[in-house]
Amino acid sequence: MSIEPVVLFFVLGVAAGLLRSDLKIPGVIYEALSIFILLAIGLKGGVELAKYPLGSLIGQGLIIVAIGALIPLIAFPILRFLGRLSRADSASIAAHYGSVSVVTFSVGITLLGHENLDYEGYLIVFLVLLEMPALVIGVILARFGVGPVRWAKLLHEVFFGKSIYLLVGGLIIGYVAGPEGIRPLDRLFFDLFKGVLAFFLLEMGLVAASRIAALRQYGAFLAGFAVVMPLISATLGTVTGWLLGLSVGGTFLLATLFASASYIAAPAAMRIAVPEANPALSIGASLGMTFPFNIFLGIPIYLWMARTIHGG
């Protein structure tokens, strides 16, 4: 399998950060790129969703969300009892790992294009559906019997935070417009997608480089967790996808979704809902370790897992 060139931009960013290059992507451009990626993914999902009868997806959706919700429940005891982290930190990190990463998912889709593999397009909907339960479970784990929760603020952040809002907005617009209606926007949102993803990965590399140092402070346990946890989640995703009868591409994407850890929506939500958790730990693990692990090693492993379970 050849390396997907778009991830090399991430390496370029990490190298720039480590070599203290003065390369910097202005904050407003980063914001614009992330808005583009969220909208484009949402639109793509909406267009695909329009091809399937919605009713037939509800049962499958419930199963996937229920199994996805197990991830933070598996991660929490590992962090709390094996890693001896505080309750708040364990819960916050568990929420990051239960939640998903749009960019990891995008790299997965790009790889499928590279390999000429089809996938069930409606899986993009799970980017939205898998985000919320993990965050809510994370807050419950942190707060259960300990103190009050600012639920109103948290739920507002979860549903109306930029990422979910744009993904859902894109999904609805794509669904309503359908493949024909969206055609005039194809050039901007679909043809340019890979190029914009390259820019975004360059920036992620710069940010990740600044997080690797922070992670070193917290030792081997967290670094190990950041690699082992995605493998556990991906196994769960592979088996689930296979049992639900998804294609090889679909099984791979579900595994990638389960394995990915959030570093945009979850940090903001956790900062508000569980303020005593140290954000350096959760962001260091998810962005400093898991994200690079996933895009370089994880994604090829998950594709191999999907192919193997499908018997080829």
Binding site: G27, Y30, K153, E203, L206, V207, S210, A214, I264, P267, A268, R271, I272, P275, E276, P279, A280, I283
Partner: protein, 96 residues
């Protein structure tokens, strides 16, 4: 209008708290505020401003000693333990 002596309170805190802070200030009776984006480094590490979670904001509020006292007391009690928060006051002469 005569020059009025007032206090300028500068609050440096995390960007995720922007909405929360605005609600607090208005509830405590502030007449207005100015917010600008900020980055830097302190006891909570480098705040690079690369995205919201690592960004800071600078909030400026002008008011009399009583108002500023109420704000400082409230923010210290609610946010100082868990969030990056730095507050300082400057004597200012309001010109208009």
């Amino acid at each position: 209008m005569p020059v009025q002596s007032m206090l300028l309170l500068t609050i440096l805190t995390e960007a995720v708290l922007e909405d929360t802070m605005i609600d607090e200030l208005m509830a405590l009776g502030a007449k207005g505020y100015t917010i600008s984006e900020a980055r830097g480094s302190g006891t909570h590490g480098v705040r690079s401003g690369k995205w919201t979670v690592s960004g800071n904001i600078r909030i400026e509020v002008v008011g009399d000693a009583a108002l500023i006292g109420r704000i400082v007391e409230r923010l210290q009690a609610q946010y100082d333990r868990d969030y990056g928060l730095l507050m300082f006051t400057t004597q200012v002469e309001l010109q208009n």
